[in-house]
């Protein structure tokens, strides 16, 4: 097939390398399984060699076609990486739990890698620790981005590397470079990520989690995923200091990592004040939390104001940052509250953070665009630039954001129809799609925080997996591969 040879073969070499790196990361749970003899040793003993071996085959086999990567190669590589790796990630799950089924296993792995946190598994407390570690580790690797990691570790991506980096980083402003070299930027971002994660592990451990739980939850928090090693999620610990720590780190992970990087590198805390997104992000999340607390207290959902504040603030922060931990079943709250949480998770986190959704930056740009159109009606001859902080945003980006918004809404509508067509009720279909496309995790109705996604049929699980990937790659990267123009010469 000439198309395959032209488009796909040249990237196999690099893809093989990425699969090998991913396979190597399986050694961590393998080691844990061997040390603790938790029953999953055999699964990893098979999964790790298969993954690394496949990578090696691709790497060696693709050597013949390797060439300097072009822009399109980069996009395709990102999409293939993000569809293939979840397949390899299912191996330990399938080998350990053969009854799971391919669709559900792929859903679970995709949910892990896209840092969504929607799960089909229950009885988490009884799973082997190595399986729980693997799930959390997927969050952590996928949270900041696998390609970013590979760029940081292996200096083998040339021209196309830049495109891949851009395709994977969730932000509308793709051209802000922190350092002259892409590899340096990637290293810087991962360094910040690793540092924040270590601090998070330590804090959770000190505040009373077991070390293993601290690692699993810190991975989950920093990637803004949502997998826990307990069915009751954070509710299992029932500790106010832990909840505060989780909320704080979730809020930190929802900030642009480029801002963290700039702040840490220059030891200048002023960069947080100049970040145009942070003030909107924090005020939206925190004010919503407070307002919902008052509402729920007034509606007698909570009898105590302090209880109302504790549970509402935690769950609001958790859902809005697309983390998705729950300490209470907010599906039982008044309908409005649940919908508001779904609304918050679609736009709260910052661009360049590990969170999902359309990002606060796009929301700000959209709002400003509306305001600009209104101003134009008053002053027809005025030249009104769009500003973000002090920077002027080029019109090109504004148009891209408008198109993005349209596709985002269209995707939610289409996928919701697909789910409800196959028998789910409207609330469940809609909230499942919103929960997946924003990489939040729990939805409402049958997929609410107290239940799991196990109710989905195989087809529905595939639809939701697609939604998660669509959201993680910010729509365009995935959709462009599905256009005929992409495959044309």
């Amino acid at each position: 097939m000439p198309v395959m040879r032209r488009r796909v073969f040249p990237i196999l070499h690099v893809l093989g390398m990425i699969v090998m790196v991913f396979g190597l990361s399986m050694l961590a749970p393998l080691l844990l399984a061997e040390l603790t003899r938790d029953g999953a040793q055999r699964a990893y003993d098979l999964a790790a060699p298969i993954t690394i071996g496949s990578g090696l085959v691709l790497w060696l086999g693709g050597r013949h076609w390797r060439r300097e990567l072009k822009t399109r190669d980069g996009i395709l590589l990102v999409v293939l990486t993000w569809t293939l790796l979840p397949a390899f990630a299912t191996l330990p799950l399938l080998l350990h739990m053969p009854g799971l089924g391919v669709a559900d296993a792929y859903f679970e792995a995709m949910s892990g890698l896209t840092a969504t946190g929607a799960t089909v598994l229950s009885g988490l407390d009884d799973l082997p620790p190595s399986i729980n570690l693997w799930r959390a580790q997927l969050h952590w690797l996928g949270g900041l981005g696998i390609i970013v990691l590979v760029t940081a570790v292996l200096p083998l991506l040339g021209v196309g590397g830049r495109q891949m980096f851009k395709s994977e980083t969730p932000t509308p402003m793709k051209d802000t470079k922190l350092t002259p070299r892409m590899a340096e930027t990637a290293k810087g971002l991962w360094l910040v990520y690793v540092m924040l994660t270590s601090v998070c592990i330590t804090v959770l451990w000190v505040l009373g989690m077991s070390f293993f739980d601290a690692v699993v939850h810190a991975f989950s928090i920093m990637g803004l995923g949502g997998f826990s090693s307990h069915d009751a999620s954070m509710g299992y610990f029932d500790s106010i200091p832990l909840e505060i720590a989780v909320a704080v780190f979730a809020l930190l992970a929802g900030i642009n990592f480029a801002t963290h990087f700039a702040a840490l590198r220059g030891r200048r805390w002023g960069v947080y004040r100049h970040d145009p997104e942070i003030r909107w992000y924090l005020s939206f999340v925190l004010l919503s939390g407070l307002a919902l607390a008052l509402l729920l207290w007034q509606r007698d959902v909570f009898l105590d104001l302090s209880d109302a504040l504790r549970y509402t603030l935690f769950n609001t922060i958790s859902v809005a940052t697309t983390l998705g931990f729950a300490t209470t079943d907010y599906g039982q709250w008044p309908f409005f509250a649940g919908l508001w949480l779904m609304f918050l998770c679609s736009f709260s986190t910052s661009a360049g953070s590990t969170g999902g959704g359309i990002k606060m930056m796009r929301a700000i740009l959209l709002f400003k665009q509306v305001y600009r159109e209104l101003e134009r009606l008053v002053h027809p001859d005025a030249r009104i630039p769009m500003r973000l902080g002090r920077e002027v945003v080029p019109n090109k980006i504004v148009y891209a954001v408008l198109a993005f918004m349209f596709i985002y809404v269209a995707s939610i509508v289409t996928l919701s129809f697909a789910l409800s067509f196959t028998g789910l009720d409207v609330l469940t279909s809609f909230s499942a799609v919103v929960g997946c496309i924003n990489n939040t995790g729990p939805g409402l109705g049958q997929v609410g925080p107290a239940t799991t996604y196990a109710v989905l049929t195989d087809f529905q699980a595939w639809v939701c997996s697609f939604a998660m990937l669509l959201g993680r790659l910010e729509l365009f990267t995935l959709l462009v591969v599905l256009t005929p123009a992409f495959w044309r010469r």
Binding site: H379, P380, D381, A382, R383, I384, V392
Partner: protein, 467 residues
């Protein structure tokens, strides 16, 4: 004095005109032969064609024995380099450079002798912008100029309905003291001195019993914080300025908009589409409109009738005149037009257009400051170059100086020249007949006719005594 001027543009040729009249030996250097030919035709000076920053051209222009180099080309880098060369290769004692970019201006250490070796930096665009800013801050004034680093100001106003109209000058102080008693929150010691009065364009030497009439153009000196109070004596006060419209987003227009945009509501009209786009990026609080300042529909659309000050600042004299006339007709309260041709300025000032501003007049002062003999701290050109206001420093002691130790009333000044104020160390003194002059005083003088300048300069020269 032998002076080399680099650049025969507007600033350069205007300076040449002034200096030739004052009797200096001038050489003008420029790249364009036509400009030089035009200059040579009008004035008695020498010209050299060539790149101003080349040593050979500077030598040709007589840099070896020149007293002063004034680099006023359009290019900052050429100007800076020429000053450096003039210092290193030719040892010219005084080097003046025109710097347009604010980026360079932010680092004054660049101009130190060991670096670019520029003795004085001038920035004509900045001068005009500051000048306009003062006119907008005091909308009743016809002209406002700074002395003593901005502590003292000379203001020209048209007398109109104020208390002093119909009263003799000697009542000014009394009345202001009365006002002070009624409004104790006002600062103590409000004082002012009327430096000159022009009635129907003719100068009147102000005496204690001179009566101010409606329509007189009154020049007075006062400490900066008292200007508003004194102005109220001369004019019924207008409403404050809130909305400013600027036509023309060139160098001056955009600088002015940037300067004003935090304190006023500014609208800027620029014709070029791309330039308007760029301006809208640069100016954060200004509404940038793409269109023509002479477009009636645009002006009406943007409510020109509510505009307090309309400034026409394009490169084109005729456009500025038409735009400001139109704006005035449509209801703008005060209109200012930037006009390069001095004949036009004379034609228009005081008519429909409230202020016709010649950029050359506004910028010549700082240049003259460095060129005049005697120690001049500030020179301002007034009334389209006919009159001047000076800030001069008194040097020497009672023997060698004609001024030190004397009372103001004793000093023989040319007819009409008046001393209005003194800056003594950090104190602002509004003078009266019995004020004594001390060494190192800064005197602020009003000179109604430029022909008297040499006589005034002589007063400030330190002599060898009287024997």
């Amino acid at each position: 004095m032998k002076i080399i001027i680099l650049g025969a543009g507007q600033v350069g040729s205007n300076l040449a005109e002034h200096l030739v009249r004052e009797g200096s030996d001038l050489t003008v250097v420029d790249l364009e032969a036509e400009k030089l030919a035009a200059l040579q035709e009008r004035f008695d000076l020498r010209t050299v064609r060539g790149q101003a920053s080349h040593p050979s051209i500077l030598r040709l222009a007589g840099a070896d024995d020149a007293d002063m180099l004034v680099a006023v080309t359009l290019n900052d880098e050429t100007n800076m380099l020429a000053c450096k060369l003039a210092g290193t290769l030719f040892n010219i004692p005084t080097k003046i450079a025109r710097i347009r970019s604010q980026d360079y201006m932010r680092h004054p250490e660049l101009f130190a002798p060991e670096h670019f070796n520029v003795d004085h930096v001038i920035s004509p665009e900045q001068e005009v912008t500051d000048y306009l800013r003062r006119l907008i801050d005091y909308p009743e004034a016809l002209q406002v100029v700074d002395f003593a680093g901005g502590r003292i100001r000379l203001v020209a106003v048209k007398a109109h309905g104020g208390f002093m109209v119909g009263h003799a000058l000697k009542h000014l102080r009394e009345h202001m003291h009365l006002m002070f008693r009624e409004h104790p929150q006002a600062r103590t010691g409000i004082d002012a001195r009327v430096a000159a009065i022009y009635r129907h364009d003719r100068a009147i030497v102000p005496q204690g019993d001179t009566i101010i009439q409606e329509g007189d153009e009154v020049f007075f000196l006062a400490a900066t914080e008292h200007i508003r109070a004194v102005m109220k004596e001369m004019r019924r006060s207008d409403q404050g300025v809130r909305r400013v419209m600027i036509a023309g987003g060139g160098n001056i227009g955009s600088r002015l908009a940037k300067n004003l945009e935090r304190d006023y509501q500014v609208k800027l009209i620029e014709r070029g589409k791309k330039h308007a786009e760029a301006l809208s990026h640069e100016l954060e609080h200004t509404l940038v409109l793409c269109g023509n300042g002479t477009d009636e529909d645009l002006l009406l659309e943007e409510n020109v009738e509510d505009i307090d000050v309309f400034c026409a600042l394009t490169n084109d004299d005729e456009d500025n005149i038409m735009a400001s006339l139109l704006a005035k007709r449509l209801g703008a309260r005060k209109v200012i037009a930037l006009i390069n041709r001095s004949t036009y300025v004379d034609l228009l000032q005081g008519g429909e257009i409230d202020i016709a501003l010649s950029p050359a007049q506004a910028t010549i002062g700082p240049l003259l400051t460095h060129i005049r003999r005697g120690h001049m701290a500030v020179v301002h050109s007034l009334r389209r170059g006919a009159a001047e206001a000076l800030e001069a420093v008194v040097h020497g002691d009672a023997q060698s100086s004609k001024l030190i130790g004397r009372r103001i009333g004793e000093i023989k000044l040319p007819e009409g020249v008046s001393i209005g104020a003194i800056l003594r160390r950090d104190e602002v003194i509004i003078v009266h007949h019995d004020t004594h002059i001390e060494a190192e005083d800064h005197l602020i003088l009003f000179v109604p006719n430029k022909r008297m300048i040499p006589k005034v300069e002589k007063l400030f020269q330190v002599g060898l005594g009287f024997f």
